[in-house]
Symmetry: C2
Subunit: 147 residues, 2 copies
DNA sequence: TCATGTTGTAACTATAATGGTTACAACGAA
DNA sequence: TTCGTTGTAACCATTATAGTTACAACATGA
């Protein structure tokens, strides 16, 4: 199975807030850029808010970054939107037979490896800040604007 | 979401074939160790067979390793059971607005990172052979037998 | 004060993957 | 030819996702 698109949506939202900082960005407007429903945006925005990444104005509407892009890694976004539960990227079969030598011991051995693999994946996300991503994005935007 | 337990089941099956080599291991018997239904085992075994990792005797029954444990990495198992489609660990939202600067360019930028993260995860699996896993497993088995 | 537009959230839906289960034809060996 | 096994189809319950409608709570500006 796949990791929820909430992650890519979250990154998209933060990028919009960064690039269009100052503008009045409503869930409706963001949904237009992401290509989905405003409620989906509000749900993800709510998670980003709970994680302290954005601030949302109820009533008047609109969201803004709550922290500098430098201080937000992609792992922060990934965690904020609950993309994958901690240590549970892999689903292990649940009732290995404790009376079988292999069944009784494989869980422990395999679990270690799964955690290591998950850590490696998350490590890549943790090594990149939203600042870096937005900078690369800005270059891409310029390049595509020239064409 | 989580990566299918087919992966851990596949590793479990190969471990059984290695530890009990020579024995007549039917899907029924294996299912007893894994803690699931024989049909589930046959499904996974079928995938391992298709990948050339095991041989299965139709009719008389039983499965055996088709290759040396040294030549099978956990990544081979992961691929054999279709744990995650190539390059698709992350699900990216699918209709970013091409008329929006961010929407038009984020997919490309984010996709690169996702691939890098997935590669890191799979790299860990590729760096471990079934031989190594079974050796560690054997140590665990001994240790738990002593207690 | 009140009208307007927005957020937060509940509720419902369709879709898809998973893993368990029954059933049975095809097969191989004793 | 009998028996136990595999390979597969078919079905089911469960779960997560993502889209949608609906509406109360809220903030702001007229």
């Amino acid at each position: 199975m796949q990791i929820s698109s909430r992650f890519s949506i979250g990154v998209h939202i933060l990028s919009l807030l960064a690039v269009n900082s100052g503008a009045h960005l409503t869930s409706e407007w963001i949904a237009g850029s992401v290509g989905t429903n405003p409620v989906v945006i509000r749900r993800v925005t709510g998670q980003l808010k709970k994680a302290g990444l954005v601030e949302v104005r109820a009533g008047s509407g609109g969201a803004t970054l709550a922290r500098g892009l430098e201080s937000i890694t992609l792992l922060d976004v990934y965690r904020a939107v609950d993309a994958v539960e901690e240590g549970k990227l892999f689903h292990m079969h649940e009732q290995p037979n404790p009376n079988c030598e292999v069944g009784a011991n494989i869980e422990h051995v395999l679990r270690l490896l799964m955690l290591k693999a998950q850590d490696a994946m998350e490590g890549v996300l943790g090594a990149v800040t939203m600042r870096e991503l937005v900078d690369v994005l800005a270059v891409e935007i310029k390049r595509s604007a020239v064409k």
